[in-house]
Subunit: 150 residues, 2 copies
Amino acid sequence: MSVAAPPAASAAKSSAPRDLSRIYSIAELAREFAVTPRTIRFYEDEGLIKPRRQGTQRLYSAGDRARLGWILRGKRLGFSLAEIRQLLDLYHVDRTGLQQMRELLRRSRLHIEELERRRRDLDAQIGEFKDVETQVVAELRQRGVDPDSD
Amino acid sequence: MSVAAPPAASAAKSSAPRDLSRIYSIAELAREFAVTPRTIRFYEDEGLIKPRRQGTQRLYSAGDRARLGWILRGKRLGFSLAEIRQLLDLYHVDRTGLQQMRELLRRSRLHIEELERRRRDLDAQIGEFKDVETQVVAELRQRGVDPDSD
DNA sequence: ACCCACATTGACGTTTACGTAAACGTTAAC
DNA sequence: GTTAACGTTTACGTAAACGTCAATGTGGGT
């Protein structure tokens, strides 16, 4: 899958945009999130982001940037773009009608259950690999080797 | 009709094998794990499971069954089959050589880091959707509606 | 005016993870 | 002995998520 998290190129690890009114070029966002411009355009084709245009060029707001980050986090969690679109929609659906709110509540709870299932899977794997680590470290120590000397 | 009663077609989700020496048919495993036989054969083509053969037919041991479960959990976590294969290999690599053990340790730790990154993503999303839930519940209550009456 | 880096839109190619027939063998039941 | 339920291989099809040209436009610096 290879959806690595942002490498935090500089010390600017802050997830908060420096300036709320800043605008970003496609290449800029691509660099920051370690994806290609092609990917970002593809997400637009799929209706996941809708940047402003200056003529033909795309201009991304801080909101667009955050949205892209959200999308990529969804990807890292293994959701398809279709699912991510649905999830994003949950934040923007009409919250006035009673039925809509009930529906929103229902979907949110379903999604939370899904996420908690995943966390159980995740914790199980983490446990297994920590066991491996523990065993290997013990074995190495027994052989008189320091496990942490590179 | 067979001698015994039908095995309750509903999803028997018990993760513990009834009998360690039991053998399973491909359809049986497919039902239990809610995948198609095609999927299981595909995993075999990819070198992820190697069941015994009785003539041309595949016979799955309890170990094969567990392995399949492991693979599918990996999938749920969003790993590709190639990655899953690598991870499975980590349990079977030669643990005698010093360099191999160092390498195993290194990879395990890398994988654990990866998993913990994912858990951070996961917890973040869970938090967001729990916020949504909380807000919607509050809003519904304020309108004098019970959020949990279906 | 020219160059260069970056932008755009098609359009076709690629990988992954299977689905979907087709054509066939095996065993058990009736 | 035929049918039904299950298994097999081989092979082509497909949806998702981009990659990779190609052809073209555009804005800024010198």
